[in-house]
């Protein structure tokens, strides 16, 4: 069965695209046939993070409008098997994304391309693009920075996810939404300069999928156009690998949340 996952946050610049790229790559590495779709119409960037910007011919809006079929538009990743990218278009037409159009693309990915996972990289904000990215989702990953405006916006988005998805409208209840805390700095948390994982979790009250430490590896990865999860020696890459494992149901302790090498969670819960 195909699972549709939206990666969202409300606020911009917190790591949605980085996370979408890492999550999709991680799932593909584990053998799941995965497509990652950029919903940020007009501000395409996932192609750069995935390192396929020079291979873009057709895009999401081309498929919706019938100028290209899904097979023509999908870009097959060169580094990882089972991984495909559907870029956003650079059109400025806000109405290019329609509910029927997006549904058609998702159906084609499910029925014709036999995808296991479809990752929808949401744009920032709560406009059409963000609503479309979330509407058909079966599950959500809420990306948040330990910072007031990001946490507040995430709470808004969690509220929207609870009412504005197809599952919610059909009365199936809320879709599962999990928190991914990014740009985390244990040193600053310890000095009382940054909200802790526990603080953010207490406020947002959703399950924790992972904590990604603030890391030079993320910028290195985007500079190179290679998802950070492929940088297996880096802290951020390992944290994303853990998050993907948890996403698939594994129980793993959270690493990189404490200043000490041995994590606080490890010591508290007998790791």
């Amino acid at each position: 069965m195909t699972k549709i996952v939206v990666v969202t946050s409300g606020k911009g610049g917190v790591g949605k695209t980085t996370t979408s790229a890492a999550l999709a790559t991680g799932l593909a590495l584990r053998g799941f046939k995965t497509t990652v779709i950029d919903f940020d119409v007009g501000l395409r960037n996932l192609d750069l993070i995935m390192g396929c910007e020079r291979r873009v011919v057709y895009d999401l809006v081309n498929v919706i409008s019938g100028d290209a079929n899904i097979k023509q538009a999908l870009i097959k990743d060169k580094k990882v098997d089972n991984l495909f990218i559907l870029p956003a278009s650079q059109t400025r037409d806000k109405d290019a994304l329609t509910t029927e159009g997006v549904e058609g693309v998702l159906n084609a990915l499910r029925d014709d391309m036999k995808m296991d996972y479809i990752i929808c990289d949401s744009p920032a904000g709560i406009e059409k693009g963000a609503l479309m990215a979330a509407y058909f989702a079966d599950e959500a990953v809420v990306v948040t920075n330990p910072e007031v405006s990001s946490v507040r916006d995430s709470d808004r988005i969690i509220g929207i996810l609870a009412s504005k998805t197809r599952h919610a409208e059909q009365g199936d209840g809320d879709i599962p939404a999990r928190l991914l805390l990014t740009r985390y700095s244990p040193e600053r948390v310890e000095n009382g300069q940054m909200l802790s994982v526990e603080d953010v979790q207490e406020i947002l009250a959703i399950e924790l999928l992972g904590v990604i430490p603030e890391s030079q590896a993320v910028l290195n990865a985007s500079n190179a156009g290679s998802p950070v999860i492929l940088d297996i020696d880096s802290d951020a890459g390992q944290a994303y690998s853990d998050a993907v494992a948890r996403f698939l149901g594994d129980q793993l302790p959270h690493r990189f949340v404490n200043v000490n090498k041995k994590g606080l969670f490890g010591r508290l819960f007998g790791g």
């Binding site: 910072e147 007031v148 946490v151 507040r152 709470d155 808004r156 509220g159 609870a162 009412s163 948390v189 000095n191 009382g192 300069q193 940054m194 909200l195 802790s196 603080d199 207490e202 406020i203």
Partner: protein, 89 residues
């Protein structure tokens, strides 16, 4: 001097200030979540009407929609000031 500073409560960190502010604003925004779009304006206009007669603060009027077994209830809560303040008015 140092013994006094030791006894005094620790200065609040910026993270704990952030947490407190967030808890308050998030709780407030959640209370209006999912309600009809006209609620904030209704609240403002009600406040203006009440103020024609009684001096009340910004937070005096509270509007909320509750759903109870298929029935929607619009709940208005108006907090009036103390007697003395009213007489002065």
């Amino acid at each position: 001097m140092s013994i006094f500073s030791y006894l005094l409560p620790k200065k609040q960190t910026s993270a704990s200030v952030a947490k407190e502010r967030l808890q308050i604003i998030v709780a407030r925004e959640r209370s209006t979540r999912g309600g009809p779009d006209y609620l904030p304006q209704l609240q403002q206009e009600l406040l203006m009407v009440v103020r024609k007669y009684v001096p009340v603060g910004e937070d005096a009027v509270n509007v909320q929609v509750d759903r109870d077994s298929g029935c929607e209830i619009l709940e208005l809560n108006i907090t009036l000031p103390e007697e003395e303040a009213q007489q002065q008015y």
